[in-house]
């Protein structure tokens, strides 16, 4: 399992390989499904075009909260491994922001876990997004739909 916070861009294939290796180490031959999610910066929001984003975070807590989330997902969905990486700082349009991955015996657990990691990350990891437009910038408001997505995991299972 791993949780990383970094300024630099990441290589999706390397993270997949790291996740598979970590799953193999725990229970070689028991992983039937690996699901990954990668989030990217879109070049517009509801109000029009944007020129990239900036992510503020809470150094120290971000890493802990992300690792806690990975451990919770791992436990809840009986994963062989899980991992997460979130970038911070200035990120340009169409660049990668976030990656999560889950390795499980069967596909449903891997899909559910990756989905859970993203839904809960948007509730519990201290990261704040600011969108730029020219030299102006505006904080992104938390979405009610994200609250709803996270809430559904309270009722399930």
């Amino acid at each position: 399992m791993f949780a990383l916070v970094q300024v630099e861009d990441f290589d999706q294939g390397e993270l997949y390989a790291r996740l598979k290796q970590s799953a193999d180490k725990k229970a070689c031959g028991n992983t039937g499904a690996i699901v990954t999610f990668t989030g990217l910066v879109r070049d517009f929001n509801n109000a029009g075009d944007i020129d990239g984003i900036e992510l503020e975070h809470y150094p120290g807590m971000t890493e802990k909260a992300l690792m806690l989330l990975v451990e919770q997902a791992s436990e809840r969905f009986s994963l062989n491994s899980a991992g997460a990486l979130h970038r911070v700082g200035r990120i340009h349009n169409n660049e990668q922001i976030v990656w999560v991955g889950a390795a499980a015996p069967h596909r449903k657990a891997a899909f559910d876990a990756a989905c859970y990691l993203m839904d809960m990350l948007k509730q519990s990891v201290p990261l704040w997004k600011k969108e730029f437009k020219g030299d102006k910038s505006e904080w992104v408001e938390a979405k009610a739909s994200d609250d709803k997505a996270a809430l559904k995991w309270m009722h399930k299972k």
Binding site: E56, K122, V125, P126, L127, W128, K129
Partner: protein, 82 residues
């Protein structure tokens, strides 16, 4: 006793202070400390009037949490990562 108060994002921008040392009474809850901070300045009152999340020693916690000497209390708006 004394705690460190950290702020992030809008909370940081509105208060203009991202890291302060604050004297508080023994057995203060976070709720009490927030009331105390609201009287610090109009900016703090404004920053803390909406929806604010709280973390104690880098773990999310609720307003009833009782603080200890040396704790790190963080105040910030709902998170928007991902």
């Amino acid at each position: 006793m004394q705690v460190t108060v950290k702020t992030f994002a809008q909370t940081r921008e509105i208060t203009g202070e991202d890291n302060i040392a604050l004297h508080i009474s023994e057995n203060s809850t976070i709720e009490t400390v927030i009331s105390q901070l609201k009287t610090r300045s109009d900016k703090w009152a404004l920053a803390l009037e909406g929806s604010v999340l709280t973390a104690c020693n880098q773990e999310l916690c609720d307003l009833q949490t009782v603080l200890s000497d040396g704790d790190e209390l963080a105040l910030f708006p709902p998170v928007t990562g991902g």
